[in-house]
């Protein structure tokens, strides 16, 4: 694994030596996140979000296990159990708010992680598998978050469950049967709540399993970096520990201040007041939307208002309902094809002038619009705007990216990561920069 100059684990005492022979777990940790994993020296703060995502997965599992100790998945009591947790359980208010907002922050982190991937083309060879596994994790996260939101059994829980399971009802021929099977009834009921609780408990551990594969796949080529050029030599890397453990720890602390602020001072800012009304199968809330992290995909779902017909006839090929569902799933599934849609040999957006323009002035405003429109009321002008944004979204991945990668003239790449950091690289035979030209203090001397 990894590079030839990676430090080798050496057990320091008799116990670690014995352990290393029987179960080399310390060796695994050393090579995964310790001094045995050489990492490019030029990673910027966007590379912190992987560790943050791992932290929030663990955080959600720990707070979730605590909440499961006090919750009851029964429609008779589920809603009042949340109040019980909020009022009676010691620090229950804290765990409930930390878990609910933890989901939001997990998604904030994961979106930034994904968009880091978009901009720096982290999905390109040799890292396709890391990307594919990442998309799988994202899909699993969406399923987990959705089912978690059903558990408080408020109005948004119930109607969210009804609408999302209704998506499966759009599938031709088997839809109705499938939907009835998914909820275990004709509308979300006690059986639905029970199975969602069971799956909401299970899926995080499945995610943790795929995360291990994700990290395993990462450690084969090693981490990417902001220049997009591969590691050539030892001077291009620093050991993960202490350099990136320290940087990740520092950034995690910073991010947790932001998180704690929301948990303790604005715990309901990201939620919907309607979910404090107990679920009622007989009345739908006036304005029903999912949690904010599903907005872009919800906007795409709602953008399809007309059936697909054979032109000049009334023959319907695909109903609007099904079109919306297909588009919503396709919006994520298209990410699976990114490694083959973007053919440019240059990875980093920093060296791709045309790509960079379409990223900052195309994809980002498009996603921002979809985020806004998913939460807006389904009326004009928002429907038309959703349609335009949806069209651009698919255009970006399916048309613009492949064309850019054909016509773009990339900027010259630095010889090596070392050169991009220090302005010179003693290993580069073609370069001849006097040592004095190196910016003093650009890279502090390692202390140990």
């Amino acid at each position: 694994m990894s590079f030839a100059w990676a430090k080798n684990y050496e057990p320091k005492n008799a116990f670690t030596q014995w352990m290393d022979e029987k179960l080399p777990l310390p060796r695994l940790v050393y090579n995964a996140v310790g001094a045995g994993y050489p990492v490019p020296r030029n990673l910027n703060y966007m590379w912190n979000f992987g560790v943050l995502a791992g932290f929030f997965l663990m955080f959600q599992i720990v707070t979730g296990i605590v909440l499961a100790m006090h919750y009851a998945a029964n429609t008779e009591v589920a809603f009042s159990q949340i109040e019980h947790i909020m009022r009676n359980v010691n620090y229950g208010w804290m765990f409930k708010n930390a878990h609910a907002n933890g989901a939001s922050f997990f998604f904030i982190v994961i979106y930034l992680h994904i968009f880091r991937g978009f901009y720096f083309s982290s999905y390109k060879a040799p890292r396709e598998m890391i990307w594919l596994l990442g998309v799988v994790i994202f899909l699993l996260m969406m399923a987990t978050a959705f089912m978690g939101y059903v558990l408080p059994w408020g109005q948004m829980s119930f109607w969210g469950a009804k609408v999302i399971t209704g998506l499966f009802g759009a599938i031709p021929f088997v839809g109705d049967t499938l939907q009835t099977w998914l909820v275990g009834g004709f509308a979300p009921n006690n059986a639905t709540l029970n199975r969602f609780f069971s799956l909401h408990f299970l899926l995080p551990f499945v995610i943790a399993g795929v995360v291990i594969l994700h990290i395993w796949a990462l450690h084969i080529p090693g981490s990417s970096n902001p220049t997009g050029i591969e590691v050539k030599q030892e001077s291009d890397t620093v050991p993960f520990h202490p350099y990136y453990t320290a940087k990740d720890g520092w950034f995690l602390g910073l991010f947790l201040i932001f998180f704690a602020f929301v948990v303790f001072f604005a715990p309901y800012a990201l939620g919907h007041p309607d979910n404090w009304i107990e679920a009622s199968p007989l009345s739908t809330p006036a304005h029903i939307v999912p949690e904010w992290y599903f907005y872009p995909f919800y906007a795409i779902l709602r953008a399809f208002t007309g059936d697909l017909t054979i032109p000049f006839t009334d023959i319907i090929l695909i109903e609007a309902k099904l079109l919306g569902v297909i588009a919503m799933f396709a919006a994520i599934l298209v990410w699976f094809f990114l490694p083959w849609l973007d053919k440019s040999p240059v990875r980093s957006g920093n060296y791709r002038p045309l790509f960079k323009k379409f990223f900052w002035f195309g994809l980002i405003p498009c996603m921002a619009a979809l985020f806004y429109l998913g939460g807006a009321t389904p009326e004009e002008p928002f429907i038309m705007m959703s349609q335009i944004a949806t069209a651009y979204y698919f255009m970006h991945f399916l048309v613009i990216l492949p064309i850019i990668s054909q016509i773009e003239v990339p900027k010259p790449l630095p010889y090596s990561i070392t050169e991009s950091v220090l302005g010179k690289d003693d290993g580069a035979a073609t370069k001849d920069v006097p040592p004095a030209a190196a910016p003093a203090g650009a890279m502090p001397e390692p202390a140990e």
Partner: protein, 184 residues
Amino acid sequence: MASTAAGTGTEDGVRRRDWIHIAALSSAGVGAASVVLPLVTQMDPSADVLAASTTDVDISSLEPGQSIKEVFREQPLFVKRMAAAEIAEVNAVDIGDLRDKQTLEERLGAGNADILVQLGVCTHLGCVPLGAAEGEEKGEYDGYFCPCHGSHYDAAGRIRKGPAPTNLVVPEFSFQSESVIRVG
């Protein structure tokens, strides 16, 4: 700047970078420790459980020799008005012969002639001893008998024979009036 300033230099083995290590690790340590408290105490009895921690028992209809079974903190509670014969019998026992040395007076409390309040929980492993209700087996000492592992208690709830280590537990209680006691 010399490398000393960056922290590699040592002066009496002290490096300038030690400070940031200690500060960072101790902040993280305090943070982790403060997370442990909620994680542990969330498993303690919740406020609704604690709110149900006292039980009032009406003893006005208790005849001498009769018991009431109540529930106190989710466990059985035996409230008994002792008969004169039982009081005489338990007072006749030599305290020195007892495993858990307690007089009846100590178990009843000051100003209480005959109302015996105790948890119906065997001090061995927590089964409910027989003997509080009419017709139940009272054991070899005319008190209580635990069917699980054969502990025998006398009429004052004192352990006389079998594996239980101590007498039946007498919870804190007080007389609210002649006819009502408050346990807990």
